[in-house]
């Protein structure tokens, strides 16, 4: 398998599907960029996060559309185009800007199939970059996937690894339901093995990235990387071994992989970058408390961000986020219980 970045893996999935299916279009702000600019150059930054190399030249104006700053119209248009037979992928540059188009997700795309008695399909993907760590402050850093996971009718992917971003994006684009796809903005440069070719990964299937016997660490998105580092360190330094499980999609959620692991280890630590209230961490904890109560030998631990907006100052942002030290403390607390 080739080593690729998260960004390259995402691009690969987008290209496979753009090449394969004429109905796939991509829309967003500055996805090509340069429109109307004095240099007359398109594809000049290949998208804000460099995910669309030469897409404008390759796919043309009708399938690769630069939009004005009009989030509500962009996502509404995706939902409408999906109802009318296209399979749009739209980019909302930063997940925080979903504030402007939540209606189009929550009241439109999510509801059609149900409200219309099963008569419609809304095959659209909303791609967005989330997450803290770059001192982008309160309006450019939030991890809002729990809010979207909460909405029945929407599927939610939060990949952590290059291979997963490729496989899950392929599945997202082929799914007939609306999908919101969260990429952590600090992961685009992360490298990993990525299988060649058309390699979709099913939704609702988690992945175990470390194997152990003492505790189960379930982590989401960038927190998978944080958790792996801590778990490797504890194995080496303290002989404590843990499963690290990445659910990969928060809706649907692979309950089986989590429950099977907790049955084996008796201990659960959930690591989630969102604030704690109504979070994915809270959701998984409640699920295990309900369905795996008998497996548990210790109280469930949640490691989340603070219940606060994301602060700007780098030291405050570090204090806000889950850290290696906080994850280690939670694992030790659980194991020592």
């Amino acid at each position: 398998m080739a080593i690729k970045t998260y960004r390259e893996a995402l691009t690969e999935a987008l290209m496979i599907e753009m090449d394969r299916d004429e109905r796939v279009i991509i829309m967003g702000e500055d996805v090509a960029g340069g429109a109307g600019g004095s240099a007359g150059v398109r594809d000049n930054q290949n998208g804000i996060f460099g995910t669309y190399p030469q897409f404008h030249a390759r796919y043309g104006e009708n399938r690769f559309i630069d939009t004005p700053i009009s989030e509500a119209a962009i996502v509404g248009a995706a939902a409408g185009a999906a109802l009318a037979g296209l399979r749009p992928v739209v980019e909302i540059m930063f997940a925080d800007f979903i504030g402007y188009c939540l209606d189009q997700i929550m009241n439109q795309a999510a509801k059609f199939r149900y409200m219309f008695g099963g008569k419609s399909r809304t095959p659209m993907v909303l791609r967005t970059a989330y997450g803290a760590g770059l001192s982008a402050a309160a309006q450019h850093s939030q991890a809002i996937y729990p809010m979207i996971t909460h909405i029945p009718g929407i599927k939610v992917a939060v990949p952590s690894k290059p291979a997963d971003v490729k496989g899950l994006m392929l599945t997202a684009m082929r799914d007939d339901d609306p999908v919101v796809f969260f990429d952590h903005k600090a992961l685009f440069g992360v490298q990993g093995e990525v299988p060649e070719g058309d390699t979709p990964i099913p939704f609702g299937k988690g992945m175990r990235y470390r194997e152990g016997k003492d505790a189960t660490v379930v982590a989401i998105g960038r927190m998978v990387h944080f958790s792996e580092a801590v778990v490797d360190k504890l194995a080496k330094e303290a002989g404590i071994t843990c499963d690290v499980i990445d659910p990969r999609t928060t809706s649907p959620l692979d309950e089986d992989i989590i429950l099977a692991s907790v049955q084996k280890t008796g201990r659960l630590i959930v690591v989630d970058e969102s604030p704690p209230r109504c979070s994915v961490a809270g959701d998984i904890s409640a699920m295990v408390a309900m369905k795996g109560f008998d497996f548990l030998d210790a109280p469930i631990q949640m490691v989340t961000s603070a219940h606060s907006p994301v602060p700007f100052a780098p030291n405050l942002e570090r204090a806000y986020l889950p850290s290696g030290a906080k994850i280690e403390e939670a694992i030790r607390k659980s194991v020592d219980y």
Binding site: G33, S38, P68, L134, A137, P311, P314
Partner: protein, 324 residues
């Protein structure tokens, strides 16, 4: 209206402070001590200052991600701003907000804003408060050419007209929203985007945003009208930003020489100096002295910011609520 010597010197000092602040940040950012994303205002100074020289502390403005110039023009403490941009405890927002969220409500500065189009509805709401208070205060939304394609901005303009509110919508057309020009992103009007504001039923006009006097005069009339119950207005002020969208922007969307041309012919500071010295309203040495004082102020602001402590980690959960 002829401005007094003091007014002219103040306007020049404000514009120069913005320019020096931004140009200095452009030098400091590569050194790595300034966190996050920073969007500089150089080239647009005449707009913020031309507008805000018509306002008092009790009037309000809303701003954008490119907010430093608006903050300075509205009277925010320059050292407090610099410390905020460095993420220090002594910053205007205690290091919580950074470049994109500088605010000082005591100066009527309702916040820089990371959400494009976030400001105009807030300004319109402030104008409801001002109308009800009846003291003649006005609110001004400073917003970009890109923001004027955002739905909430249209909604705010319509409400301002139907409620006859003391609010002014200022669109700074600096040639680009990120990498995209209004000639592409604006459907009707293209290079004349303020015509859309007119469509909502308010007086709207377009002026040279690199000429302090044009901006000042146009805004003065609109502010007077708003203060006396005459309702909202809108402006488009044209200019070009001298730096990239954010610091680090490769700017491939611009032809070579565009910025040099703008610095040559569209520099509000040069234009101002030329105008006032030609007309013998001020002497070159008056302006040189301002330049020196401003340079010193910014020098101190940077040194003090770098020497200032970071906020304590326990501040993370402070001020989430007033009480909880």
């Amino acid at each position: 209206m002829q401005l007094s010597r003091e007014q002219l010197l103040k306007a020049y000092r404000q514009m120069k402070t913005i320019r020096e602040f931004e140009d200095r940040l452009h030098e400091e950012i590569p050194k790595g001590l300034i966190p996050g994303f920073t969007h500089l205002y150089s080239g647009q100074e005449a707009i913020a200052v031309g507008v805000c020289e018509n306002l008092n502390d009790s009037d309000a403005i809303t701003s954008t991600h490119r907010g430093h110039g608006h903050c300075i023009a509205k009277g925010c403490d320059v050292k407090g701003m610099m410390a905020e941009i460095y993420g220090r405890a002594t910053g205007l927002c205690g290091g919580k907000g950074g470049s994109m969220h500088i605010a000082d409500l005591s100066k009527g500065m309702l916040g820089a804003n990371g959400i494009v189009g976030g400001g105009p509805p807030l300004a319109m709401g402030a104008a409801i408060a001002f109308r009800n208070r009846g003291k003649g205060e006005v609110a001004v939304a400073l917003a970009g050419d890109g923001s004027c394609n955002s739905g909430p901005v249209f909604e705010a303009m319509n409400m301002a007209v139907m409620l006859n509110l003391p609010v002014i919508f200022v669109f700074e057309n600096n040639g680009y929203s990120e990498q995209t020009a209004p000639a592409y992103a604006v459907g009707a009007g293209k290079t004349d985007l303020v015509r859309r504001a007119e469509g909502f039923g308010m007086p709207a006009s377009k002026h040279d945003g690199t000429d302090f006097f044009s901006v000042y005069e146009a805004t003065r009339e609109a502010v007077e009208r708003a203060r006396t119950g005459g309702g909202p207005s809108a402006f488009e002020f044209n200019c070009l930003r001298f730096f990239g969208h954010f610091e680090g922007d490769p700017q491939k969307y611009r032809i070579k020489g565009e910025v040099e041309m703008a610095r040559d012919t569209m520099d509000c500071l040069k234009n101002f100096r030329h105008r006032v010295t030609e007309a013998k309203l001020l002497e070159g040495k008056d302006l040189d002295q301002v330049d020196a004082e401003v340079k010193q102020l910014i020098e101190e602001a940077v040194a003090e910011a770098i020497a200032a402590p970071f906020p304590p980690d326990t501040d993370v959960t402070k001020n989430v609520y007033i009480n909880y």
